[in-house]
């Protein structure tokens, strides 16, 4: 972690974000956490690097897609709060066609993390945004970690991250996790979203044809009236229209209803269930 302190300039010392003492890596100690943070992203975007930088664990980081197929968990302390960080398998989408996608999707949906960080490869923004849009359909507590900015620079790409944040409606943090750059800013953004100081208003995908729009709206309205506290009624509607059996099943078993009223203990139990899959 020496790189982190070396690369920040002197001007940062006065900045509230830069507070090296604020982060305490807790490794596998995850007792009594206040917030759950999920780490999602396309394969090979540096999720595991971000995970290691935050938790101080040393998960092996490979340079190939599919390195992480199971979840890894770790903890860190930032400010006065303990966070549990869950590294999800890297996926291109959340439509759950393979086991790794299902693990990632189920965690974001049923685990209901307080914040979901989507790690994004700045050099392949377009393809990576597909996942960001899908995650922000499920939850509005999203932080986009715009990683690999160093590689983007090497390729001569410039990215207007303010524009991106405005368009996506969620915080965007440019970073180079390998060099430790941007980690303090990421932590700040995560804590703001976790505490509800910043509320995202995520971009919603526009659906091309009018009849499609009507069908989605009709079903969404019905779901909203049946489950008034469900944060992602529109996404559930889309999944049902797509014929997603897993979601229909969750609805039949009342899993969706329970979650909206679940206490922190119930959520922890839910994590266990998903963890055992």
């Amino acid at each position: 972690m020496t790189t982190q302190t070396q690369t920040t300039s002197a001007a940062c010392e006065t900045c509230p974000v830069h507070n090296a003492a604020a982060l305490k890596k807790l490794g596998v100690d995850m007792t009594d956490f206040d917030f759950v943070v999920a780490l999602a992203g396309n394969p090979n975007t540096g999720k595991s690097t971000v995970f290691n930088a935050l938790t101080g664990l040393r998960q092996h980081v490979g340079n190939w897609p599919g390195k992480t197929v199971t979840r890894a968990e770790g903890g860190f302390l930032y400010g006065d709060n303990k966070y549990k960080l869950v590294d999800l398998p890297g996926t291109y989408s959340l439509l759950a066609t393979s086991l790794d996608e299902e693990v990632a999707r189920d965690f974001i949906l049923f685990g209901q993390p307080d914040v979901t960080i989507v790690v994004v490869d700045a050099t392949r923004l377009e393809r990576n945004l597909n996942l960001v849009l899908q995650v922000s359909e499920i939850t509005n507590r999203v932080v986009v970690a715009l990683n690999l900015m160093d590689e983007a620079k090497r390729h001569g790409l410039q990215i207007d991250e303010r524009r991106l944040a405005r368009d996506l409606g969620v915080p965007v943090v440019p970073m180079s996790a390998r060099q430790g750059e941007g980690i303090p800013e990421l932590l700040q953004a995560v804590s703001e979203v976790a505490k509800g100081e910043v509320a995202g208003k995520p971009y919603r995908v526009k659906y091309v044809s009018p009849e499609l729009k009507r069908a989605v709206e009709q079903l969404t309205a019905r779901i909203e009236s049946a489950y008034p506290d469900l944060p992602n009624a529109r996404w559930v509607a889309l999944r049902l229209l797509d014929g997603d059996e897993r979601i229909a099943e969750a609805m039949r078993k009342g899993e969706l209803g329970d979650l909206t009223h679940g206490s922190i203990e119930a959520r922890a139990a839910q994590l266990q269930v998903i963890g055992n899959q």
Partner: protein, 479 residues
């Protein structure tokens, strides 16, 4: 907790069902299209692209070379050979230093201490001659090669070479009726088969995933590399002048690894033509950019995460195995030890396969961990040959100061070049270790497939070694 009236969700689901009829079957495509369109628009607004492409793109140039039809495979073999050559020639010196320390210095010292405080012979034998020596042997044989091999392999991995290997092999996998991503789970299997089996989760189709799980055993795992490396340097390397020995042994090991890959293709092909018929699914494989590996960090993590974990596993299995071997060699029934009886019983079958009873018994002892095959073989060989001058009695894992001494011991035990070759083959083609078998059971949830995965490689191994032995002996008798 609020409970909702039950009819609520059925109503919603029925509503969804009828709407699905209205919107038509291409909803999924439209959905994807909408997401892609919006993602592309947002990205376009945020990214400012450079005016012109750089003249020289290093990544693309390297890719053209390492994934080329002509050079892709030769380069792969070359890189693999270099890695093994460095491992084999680099591990000799530290291995013998460790052996000198742990076996020649520490062991006599411990024996002296135990004699001076009057420990009963059987406790002394069980602890020091059984458990301690087995563990010391495993450490001195395994630690140096792993400490060289793993960092080198991890450097290649971090650089981004593995997906290129997958790209090269993809076409062959598809022709075999398997999923291209199987090349990635196979690559994981070269480290550890249990990890390789878990890695098959990236494959969507259950049929192709099962093929990948059943054939992962043919990727030579790190518990088996030391066996290959030692036997190759003793018997194959000895066929040529000393300065070529390292290179030829490395090539022999690469040959076995390549044979494993070929077997993966053949068995995948056979499975997809018989019990696991079905369509090949398509997928896109992303070739990540080459990233300069962070060398010190890689060396550190690969030594901590891989080398020490694998070593620890070997040690925890070597301790009880050492005890079992010592007991089996020292409990005498009807004039012969238990181990002696077992070896005599299996010897005829072993010889038929071009192996011997000692090797077969060693493979039974080593079901929990392939790592302890070589120490077990050496110890049991001392037992049956009654070799004197090496070691110090039945069931004692002993120190062998040089490769020459190991070689002469094995030759006393009736070993020939055929035995060595067949041992290398059998080490590649036999049942997975118990950890892998358990992982297969967890991943497939099926007793049937677990049995098939466990038993069919042993049968194949018997067939292959039998055929090789018969042909070898026929050719020998003709010459």
């Amino acid at each position: 907790m609020t409970t909702y009236p039950l009819n609520n969700h059925e109503e919603i689901l029925n509503n969804a069902q009828s709407l699905r009829w209205e919107i038509g079957a291409d909803f999924h495509e439209k959905l994807m299209e909408s997401i892609y369109t919006d993602a592309s628009q947002i990205a376009d607004r945020a990214v400012i692209r450079p005016d012109k492409k750089p003249r020289f793109d290093l990544d693309r140039t390297i890719d053209k070379l390492v994934t080329s039809r002509t050079w892709g495979f030769p380069l792969m073999i070359l890189l693999l050979t270099i890695v093994f050559w460095l491992t084999i020639s680099g591990a000799n010196v530290p291995s013998s230093m460790l052996a000198t320390l742990l076996l020649d210095t520490v062991h006599p010292f411990l024996k002296g201490v135990s004699a001076s405080i009057g420990v009963p012979w059987w406790i002394d034998g069980l602890l020091l001659d059984g458990m301690y020596l087995a563990t010391a042997w495993v450490i001195s044989v395994m630690l140096p090669p792993m400490a060289i091999f793993f960092p080198l392999f991890t450097l290649l991995e971090d650089f981004g070479y593995l997906p290129r290997v997958a790209f090269n092999l993809d076409n062959l996998f598809r022709k075999a009726g398997a999923h291209g991503k199987q090349s990635l789970s196979m690559a994981m299997g070269f480290g550890c088969n249990a990890a390789g089996v878990v890695a098959t989760r990236i494959i969507d189709s259950p049929r192709e995933r099962l093929i990948a799980i059943l054939t992962n055993n043919f990727a030579l795992c790190n518990g088996r590399w030391p066996t290959q490396i030692l036997i190759a340097s003793l018997f194959v390397g000895a066929l040529v002048p000393a300065h070529l020995g390292g290179l030829i042994s490395a090539l022999a090991v690469v040959g076995i690894a390549v044979l494993g890959v070929l077997l993966t293709f053949v068995s995948s092909w056979a499975l997809s033509r018989t019990v696991l018929k079905g369509e090949v699914s398509t997928f896109s494989l992303e070739l990540p950019p080459y990233r300069p590996p962070r060398i010190w960090q890689t060396i550190y993590t690969s030594i901590i995460d891989r080398t020490l974990i694998v070593l620890w596993r070997a040690v925890t299995f070597a301790l009880p195995a050492g005890a079992v071997i010592w007991l089996a060699s020292n409990i005498v029934i009807g004039g012969n030890s238990i181990a002696g009886h077992l070896i005599n019983f299996m010897n005829p079958f072993g010889l038929l396969l071009g192996l011997n009873g000692v090797i077969l018994l060693a493979y039974i002892v080593a079901i929990p961990a392939n790592e302890i095959v070589i120490p077990t073989i050496l110890m049991l060989t001392v037992l049956v040959t009654g070799a004197t001058g090496v070691g110090s009695g039945a069931g004692v894992m002993f120190e062998l100061d040089s490769d020459a001494q190991t070689l002469s011991l094995l030759q006393t035990g009736g070993w020939t070049l055929l035995t060595a070759v067949n041992l290398m083959l059998f080490s590649l083609i036999h049942n997975p270790c118990s950890t892998t078998i358990y992982t297969i059971y967890k991943e497939t949830g099926s007793k049937k497939w677990t049995w098939i995965a466990a038993v069919s490689p042993v049968i194949l191994g018997f067939i292959v070694t039998f055929v090789v032995a018969q042909v070898w002996r026929l050719v020998e008798s003709l010459l």
